[in-house]
């Protein structure tokens, strides 16, 4: 059986001058690699240590690395065809590690794989299969880059062309060696062609974006640990990313790891609506900065390479970070740049200042008197949390002060009462600090987090339920820096757990509505509803909750999906504190998304976040007649409940 396998032809013997020539070229190639790579590594290592970084528990890191690097699962999942082509090249490189090692050892007579031996023959043939796949893969990637040319790949990169050519030559010279028999000059020629290509490839790696070959496995392995995690500040002189001296080792590593694939840019809502922000350019800007000024510089980061305007256009939707195949964490970088600008007072923005001043003095991001919340609580007879109820119902700024947000809260209250779940609201509540956290105001965020943590501890709250995914995220993750927050869940998770108890009344509504639409029913309200669910960024990508809200929405009609959904959901435009800032440049993110949702033909847009809700309310109203109805998932449930409780 093995005798039938083709044999790789290798030169039998090398003479002294050949060995000397190879040694000299290999030395030059390694020097070429190190001359560039050494300083890069130096810049990464000279950067500041990452405060709060923990290597352990290491299990998740290993799992992520196997999944994202070895199996290339993320690359393939997010862009199957291109991802698979890339995976073929990557796997071939892995298979070739042994081949290349043997190849270089052979010239000194140290080859450990005999092409004619059992093991060698099998392995070389095994590698040959990968070589074929790799050649095909790289050809495909070449065609895409030079002929299909997607927008996010940017200008044509001749470096990439050269690299693709080198890889193709490497593979074809290897494969060709199966079709010649030695000893002959053809065998020698192929061997040297392969070797020279290899030695030319090595120094090119650190000079091009192919540096990701070396760095990205480390970048993926050394992630901060969770999605869009904002690191703590350290010491009295840390105000975020102000200058080079503030760049941490992880940020520098990530800046040099970027492979410029543009997935971040493709999915960025700011970039898609004609704004200046391009997550890729933010990362490449840091790389440019490091190359020019280095990691100890006092030169501001927002200046020559990155702009303040771009940094403050980010909605922190996290689509970039989620997509990034090389482990770059864009959200902490962009928030870091904002921290640097806000914590030092360099950011001047009328709306931003207004928000900060409102929260310095008052309790909510909307700048309303706290008495408005009291009135709402009183008018609707919401019980005050006294430690005996199961849940503390966290209203949040939107739920406590915004008319639409209040409707959502009241719908949840109806459902909880129907289910017999006990709950109470806090007498006083301050903004969780979500918008100021994402805008980079650490002083204000700390004040708000500490005040809330204290109030919750005093009230003996164990479990929080809220309608706002931003509150959920901030309470659960961001407050950890200042204490131990209570358990918190979003109402979609609560409702999904109680699905059996709410199925009956809600689907009854759907059936009754379908057969006999009553006159009293609001327009468009029938059992034949088609519902499109919009995944809020802070529920989906941030919390990995995708199915629960769909289970709820599906009770009231037939679900349809928007072209961009689940982890690819397109932001409503409100996150990152942007709901409180002024007019957008370019198109409005909310209108682009609302148009996409409306184009599904659904009669109802179901949301699960009061910020999405308020953004779409305006955007859908702007569409005029025929726009779909906009409801939170809990409102869909509540209107199916019997009116008399």
């Amino acid at each position: 059986m093995i005798d039938l396998l083709p044999i790789l032809a290798e030169p039998r013997q090398f003479v002294l001058w050949q060995r000397c020539l190879f040694a000299a070229l290999a030395g030059a190639s390694t020097y070429g690699f190190w001359r560039r790579f050494g300083p890069i590594l130096g810049k990464i290592l000279q950067s500041k240590k990452d405060p709060g970084f923990r290597l352990f528990p290491i299990g998740k890191r290993v799992r992520d690395s196997v999944w994202e690097v070895l199996l290339q699962a993320k690359v393939i999942r997010e862009r199957p065809l291109v991802g698979f082509a890339h995976a073929l090249v990557f796997w071939a490189f892995c298979a070739f590690a042994l081949v290349t090692l043997n190849h270089c050892a052979a010239i000194f007579g140290l080859g450990f794989l005999d092409p004619a031996g059992r093991l060698g023959r099998c392995y070389f043939d095994f590698a040959a299969l990968f070589a074929i796949a790799c050649a095909a893969g790289i050809l495909g990637l070449f065609v895409r880059r030079f002929f299909v040319r997607p927008r996010w790949l940017g200008e044509i990169s001749w470096q990439s062309g050269v690299i693709a050519l080198l890889i193709f030559v490497l593979m074809s010279t290897y494969l060709a060696a199966f079709f010649v028999t030695g000893p002959s000059s053809a065998v020698q020629a192929l061997w040297w062609a392969h070797t020279l290509t290899l030695l030319a490839f090595l120094p090119l790696i650190p000079h091009t974006k192919h540096l990701h070959l070396v760095l990205s496995p480390f970048t993926v392995f050394l992630s901060r640990g969770s999605f869009a995690q904002i690191p703590p500040l350290s010491g009295d002189e840390d105000f975020g990313l102000v200058a080079g001296k503030d760049l941490t080792q992880l940020v520098s590593l990530q800046a040099y790891s970027c492979v410029e694939c543009g997935r971040c840019m493709e999915h960025c809502p700011a970039n898609a609506t004609g704004k200046e922000l391009n997550p890729k350019e933010i990362v490449l800007g840091l790389r440019g900065y490091l190359n020019e000024f280095g990691p100890q510089s006092e030169e501001p980061l927002l200046g020559k390479f990155n702009t303040q305007a771009a940094a403050f256009q980010c909605t922190t939707c996290g689509a970039c970070e989620f997509q990034c195949p090389v482990g770059i964490e864009h959200v902490p970088i962009i928030v870091g740049l904002r921290r640097g600008a806000v914590n030092t007072g360099a950011w001047e923005d009328n709306y931003g200042s207004k928000l900060f001043l409102a929260l310095e003095k008052g309790s909510n991001a909307l700048g309303m008197p706290a008495a408005e919340r009291d009135k709402f609580v009183e008018k609707n007879a919401l019980p005050i949390f006294d430690g005996t109820q199961e849940y503390c119902l966290w209203l949040g700024c939107m739920g406590g002060y915004d008319p639409r947000g209040r409707e959502i809260v009241l719908a949840l209250v109806r459902v909880m009462r129907h289910l017999g779940t006990t709950f109470g609201v806090l007498r006083k509540e301050k903004c969780t600090g979500d918008p100021v956290r994402r805008l980079g105001n650490d002083l204000l965020f700390q004040q708000l987090a500490e005040a809330n943590l204290e109030a919750l501890a005093q009230s003996k709250t164990k479990k929080i339920i809220t309608i706002c995914p931003h509150c959920v995220r901030t309470i659960q993750e961001d407050w950890k820096e200042f204490g131990t927050p209570p358990e918190v869940e979003h109402h979609s998770e609560f409702l999904a757990r109680h699905l059996p108890e709410i199925v009956a009344p809600v689907s009854r509504m759907a059936v009754v509505g379908a057969s006999t639409p009553a006159l009293s029913d609001p327009p468009g309200h029938s059992g034949n509803e088609t519902i499109v669910f919009h995944d809020p960024c802070y529920l989906g990508r941030y919390r990995n909750v995708y199915d629960e809200p769909r289970q709820i929405a599906a009770l009231a009609g037939t679900l349809v999906e928007a072209p961009r959904s689940h982890e690819r959901s397109f932001c409503c435009g409100a996150g990152g504190g942007l709901a409180f800032l002024g007019e957008e440049t370019g198109e409005r993110v909310s209108q682009v998304r609302a148009a996409e949702l409306a184009a599904t033909g659904a009669s109802i847009v179901a949301a699960a976040c009061p910020f999405c809700n308020t953004m779409f309310r305006d955007a859908l109203a702007a569409r005029g007649e025929g726009a779909p109805e906009l409801l939170d998932i809990v409102q869909l449930v509540a209107r199916g409940l019997p009116t008399e409780e």
Binding site: L233, E237, V342, N343, S353, F356, E360, K361, A370, L444
Partner: protein, 256 residues
């Protein structure tokens, strides 16, 4: 330019106000406190003048221990140093008494300009700044929205009634009482708070300043406003109701 900004700590707008048992002042335990808003504008004006023309901004505040937090806020926003007049009996002092305290602390500083808010958000007397000018023997102007420094003097913009403004030139040194809204306030920053820790905060006792507390005017009683709400539904046809409404707006509400 050496600028003194006199600020007052007042109950936060969202704080629940309860009247004290003796009905002479409010219950000031468990209250949240904030910088009096017109004083915040005075501070902002002072900081902007310093940033433009150089010099020093000194904040000055009278009150008990808790006033320290408001002073630190002012230092965090950019004031260079602070004087805290420790006085637990501020409620018992009238505007003259408070102005005497402030004047005694300001005099040795010999400033070029004294800024303060036109009135406080709690008592709203609007007297302190003006009396202070008199005690210091300095010219003053009230209700100021904007201050410009010319070669040797000041050009200020005053707000008058009904949307009228007045521009006047006046000599230095001077006392100005500032109106809210003339500037954009700056937000407090982490860097400001950290830097504020190293700034000088000098505390002096009222007794050290040699100011007696016997008030010339005493507060007799305070009370919450009575709820008065009367709704009148005007009947008849739309035309009749409109006529009646116009009549009432003219004669009773006097807004037309």
């Amino acid at each position: 330019m050496k600028i003194v900004v006199a600020i007052k700590q007042v109950p936060d707008r969202d704080a629940p106000i309860r009247i004290a048992a003796n009905a002479q002042w409010i219950e000031d335990r468990d209250l949240q406190w904030a910088m009096n808003e017109p004083d915040a504008y005075a501070l902002e004006e002072g900081l902007q003048l310093k940033e433009k023309h150089g010099g020093e901004v000194i904040v000055l505040s009278a009150g008990p221990e808790r006033v320290g937090s408001t002073i630190r806020e002012a230092l965090a926003k950019g004031a260079d140093r602070a004087i805290h007049i420790l006085a637990d009996d501020l409620g018992a002092r009238d505007a003259l008494g408070v102005a005497k305290l402030l004047a005694a602390a300001i005099k040795p500083e010999n400033p070029d300009l004294v800024l303060t808010g036109l009135q406080s958000e709690d008592l709203g007397l609007g007297q302190t700044g003006v009396i202070l000018a008199e005690l210091l023997g300095l010219p003053h102007a009230t209700l100021i929205l904007r201050v410009e420094k010319t070669d040797a003097a000041l050009k200020v913009k005053r707000e008058l009634e009904e949307g009228w403004f007045q521009s006047i030139e006046m000599p230095l040194p001077a006392v100005l009482t500032m109106q809210s809204g003339g500037n954009k306030l700056r937000y407090a920053t982490l860097m400001g708070i950290k830097r504020a820790k190293t700034k000088e905060l000098r505390a002096v006792n009222a007794a050290e300043l040699g100011v007696e507390s016997a008030p010339t005017a005493t507060l007799q009683q305070i009370s919450a406003p009575k709820k008065q709400k009367s709704t009148l539904i005007l009947g008849g046809s739309a035309k009749e109701a409109a006529t009646a409404l116009v009549e009432k707006l003219k004669t009773e509400a006097r807004v037309l």
